[in-house]
């Protein structure tokens, strides 16, 4: 795969002013072997403490909550604009998409911390660690209501029933349990032979009970409440788990090695990075990497690239860009300055304007990943609007240089000819229009 296609597909595209790597494989391996650390940002503990301070402020000053949220978003955009390790960041984005921690309230303030604490440290580590970190992070526990998942015969539930005999009893909330099986691990499986039953979901909920978050007191983060935990032995898909906090890591370990989980993850990765159809040969290679290398995501990251690079791309660039792909690749092709706060803020708002606001996943199954899901008439018109709007911030670029960076070997000769002063009636009428035509070309809309 050419360096241009490698950066466009496995990174966020080339940056104006930075030469393309000469060796695609070396570009991948260098970042997998020596990855840069996560961008800096506040810990979950710090943002929860700030949250409490703001809420206690009787003047109603919500300063730090808003400051922390924009700092996280701008830190994300700044990193994506500048990074030379686009593959690592894209893998991080894949896992953020996999978990798709949405929702408001306290969760909003913890999304940046979720990415830094749960995803970055494990992105080239082990799948079981990734799932453990993701499923027990305070943002996830709050997002899928595990803070209100009380074992039906736990001490808390029994005490509540005694002192509030007329009120509804406290009990299970199956939200996180259901998504753990359906989205994050084994997936539902075929309708005539489902991977699990409702009893399995209930048992997972009971294993999850008591794993909660101290939002407003120490330790301002994850905490196990033994009184909320459902006593007794649980049976999940044929495996038994003893009561207590250790049942959850044991369950995740089993799920992370379950071949159905590995197929599910392999399929999602193939579709996310390579092709909407998730080609079976690529899925098999990824499955083999995940199962033979002991849950090793570093191995999967290398296989994902080498297997995809070995496959014919017809047409040469075939993955339709998401709004996020479009915004980052165009901004980078224009050489957008990551140190310019307004530019970074514009990138963040562009994601919302095009229907993919950062970290604001509408559903736990994440953003669409296929072309058909992103295709809409108004969505297309908005893409043109945004590109045209963005283009006005760069009134002095040479359109030929931008076309070279943005489109690489796929730049259509007819388009390049239109930037020629001798093109006569075919000449593009302004620099702004020239940049618009580059980014609104079919070649640029795909990666």
């Amino acid at each position: 795969m050419t360096p241009y296609d490698t950066l466009a597909r496995f990174g966020y595209g080339p940056r104006l002013g930075e030469p393309l790597p000469t060796d695609s494989m070396a570009w991948i391996l260098n970042q997998v072997w020596v990855p840069e650390p996560a961008p800096a940002g506040k810990s979950t503990r710090d943002v929860l403490m700030d949250h409490k301070k703001d809420k206690l402020n009787l003047a109603g000053f919500d300063g730090m909550i808003a400051v922390n949220i924009s700092a996280d978003r701008e830190g994300w955009a700044k990193h994506r604009l500048a990074t030379r390790q686009g593959y690592i960041a894209r893998l991080v984005d894949f896992w953020m998409h996999h978990f798709s921690v949405g929702g408001g309230g306290h969760v909003i303030t913890m999304k940046g911390a979720f990415e830094r604490e749960a995803v970055w440290p494990n992105v080239l580590g082990r799948l079981d660690d990734m799932l453990r970190a993701g499923l027990t992070h305070p943002a996830m526990l709050m997002f899928l209501d595990n803070d209100s998942n009380i074992g039906p015969t736990s001490q808390t539930a029994l005490a509540w029933a005694t002192s509030n005999p007329t009120k509804p009893p406290k009990g299970r909330n199956e939200n996180l349990a259901r998504e753990t099986l359906e989205l994050y691990t084994v997936s539902p499986g075929p309708a005539d032979a489902p991977h699990y039953t409702h009893a399995d979901i209930t048992a997972v909920a009971d294993i999850l009970s008591g794993h909660t978050v101290a939002l407003t007191v120490e330790p301002f983060g994850y905490e196990f409440h033994a009184a909320d935990h459902e006593p007794g032995v649980k049976l999940v898909m044929g495996e038994t788990y003893m009561p207590g906090p250790d049942a959850l890591p044991a369950l995740i370990d089993v799920l992370a090695h379950d071949h159905r989980t590995l197929w599910h993850i392999a399929r999602k990765m193939a579709q996310y990075f390579h092709d909407d159809s998730a080609p079976p040969s690529l899925v098999s290679s990824l499955y083999a990497a995940l199962s033979s290398a002991g849950n090793n995501l570093e191995c999967a990251a290398i296989v994902l690239y080498t297997a995809a690079a070995g496959m014919a791309l017809t047409p040469p660039v075939s993955k339709y860009k998401s709004p996020q792909d479009l915004v980052l690749s165009f901004a980078r092709a224009c050489g957008a300055n990551p140190e310019h706060r307004q530019t970074v803020a514009r990138v963040v708002s562009a994601l919302g304007q095009l229907g993919q606001p950062l970290w604001a996943f509408g559903q736990p199954n994440g953003w669409p990943v296929t072309a058909d899901e992103w295709a809409s008439t108004e969505g297309t018109a908005r893409r043109l609007d945004w590109v045209y709007t963005w283009a006005k911030w760069y009134p002095t670029l040479d359109p030929r240089a931008v076309a070279q960076v943005a489109l690489g070997p796929h730049a259509p000769p007819e388009l390049l000819a239109a930037f020629d002063g001798d093109a006569g009636p075919e000449e593009v009428a302004s620099l702004r229009e020239a940049l618009t035509l580059i980014a609104c070309s079919a070649e640029f809309m795909h990666r």
């Binding site: 304007q353 043109l384 709007t389 259509p412 302004s430 079919a442």
Partner: protein, 366 residues
């Protein structure tokens, strides 16, 4: 500074406005033979031109400008252009905005050079760049202020057509299908809602903001705006209405927003060149030479068309195909600088270098 300081606004129309369509010489007998499909009905007919003095007619979607003409506040120029004869947009815009002459455009614009002779306000620069980037005409070493608005802009239809054209050439039909649908949807909506849809645009909002600032006793005095989208190579009858409607609404917004200061204002509307006399096969017009321009404002002695008409006959067209140029836009600018801005000869020459031998068009102001 005082409320009666002269104000100058320059509006650059990028992409080459079709002067023969916007300021149609309906009295020229050669016109229908060249471009009947691009012509509007005669004044008085349904959907017809606004008559400007018996030979020229203003585009029917420009009622505000027509009103200013009626009120004696607008002069229309025809067969106007620069000393250059390039048909490249980039090159022509750069030469026009820098007023550099025939070749070698300079990076600074003529409005920037004139800022050296216009006093700044106590807390604001005299120059104002409107929109999210400064037009070339005001860029340069003299400081100037700016205003912008952060919404999404909408590309003009001429540009959307161009996007679709390139998408159609691609091997990837997916994007072409999307663009085509988006384009049809927008053209349909604009067709149904007519001029209503054109008015609430970024450009008009920019004109409103500029007017608010220029109107102030202690505000800026010189402003530059630009409007992209005049390159009407295809489907001109669908594309041009949204452009003239925006321009008309923006001129109205300037007049209304400037209030009492309108009496001390001149707005010069120019484009890099005109378009081919004959229509092309795509329902549009290609790059030409001579074009149209407008000078409007309460300070203007208007209600007339200034045009030493070269004619559209076979022997009269430039290079056998274009309306020729009989008025140099810099001659008009010289008149504006001297009579409206009160510049002396040295200041005029510093702003428009190399124009000593060019006679100013005089008597443009009351």
């Amino acid at each position: 500074m005082s409320a009666t300081d002269p104000r100058l606004v320059v509006v650059v129309l990028r992409g080459a406005m079709d002067g023969l369509a916007v300021l149609q010489p309906y009295g020229d007998a050669n016109l229908p033979g060249l471009r009947a499909p691009l012509c509007k009905p005669q004044p008085g007919a349904s959907g017809g031109l606004f008559d400007l003095g018996g030979f020229f007619g203003l585009h029917p979607l420009m009622p505000k400008l027509a009103g200013m003409y009626q009120d004696g506040q607008a002069i229309a120029f025809h067969a106007i252009g620069g000393p250059y004869r390039t048909r490249s947009h980039f090159e022509a815009q750069a030469l026009m905005e820098s007023a550099a002459g025939i070749t070698n455009a300079s990076p600074d614009g003529f409005l920037n050079r004139m800022l050296a002779y216009v006093p700044d306000g106590p807390s604001v620069e005299a120059g104002l760049a409107v929109g999210n980037t400064a037009p070339h005409v005001i860029r340069g070493p003299e400081d100037y202020g700016g205003i912008s608005k952060a919404d999404l802009d909408r590309p003009p239809s001429s540009l959307m057509l161009r996007v679709a054209e390139f998408a159609a050439l691609s091997e990837r039909p997916f994007w072409w299908g999307l663009v085509d649908e988006a384009l049809q949807a927008r053209l349909y909506a604009w067709g149904v809602t007519g001029s209503f849809i054109y008015s609430p645009t970024q450009f008009v909002a920019e004109a409103q903001q500029a007017a608010m600032l220029l109107a102030r006793d202690d505000g800026p005095r010189v402003a530059a705006l630009d409007l992209v989208g005049w390159d009407t190579h295809a489907r001109q009858n669908e594309v041009l209405p949204e452009m003239v409607t925006q321009l008309d609404a923006a001129l109205g917004a300037l007049r209304d927003g400037l209030g009492a200061a309108w009496a001390h204002t001149a707005v010069f509307v120019i484009s890099e060149f005109g378009r081919r006399a004959a229509a092309n096969g795509a329902g549009g017009s290609d790059h030409g030479t001579g074009g149209a321009a407008f000078l409007v404002g309460g300070a203007v002695d208007g209600g007339r068309v200034i045009a030493d008409w070269p004619g559209l006959g076979a022997g009269q067209l430039y290079a056998g195909m274009d309306l020729d140029i009989s008025t140099d836009y810099r001659a008009v600018l010289k008149g504006v600088l001297a009579e409206h801005m009160g510049f002396d000869a040295a200041e005029v020459e510093a702003t428009l270098p190399g124009t000593l031998g060019l006679s100013a068009v005089s008597g443009l102001f009351t």
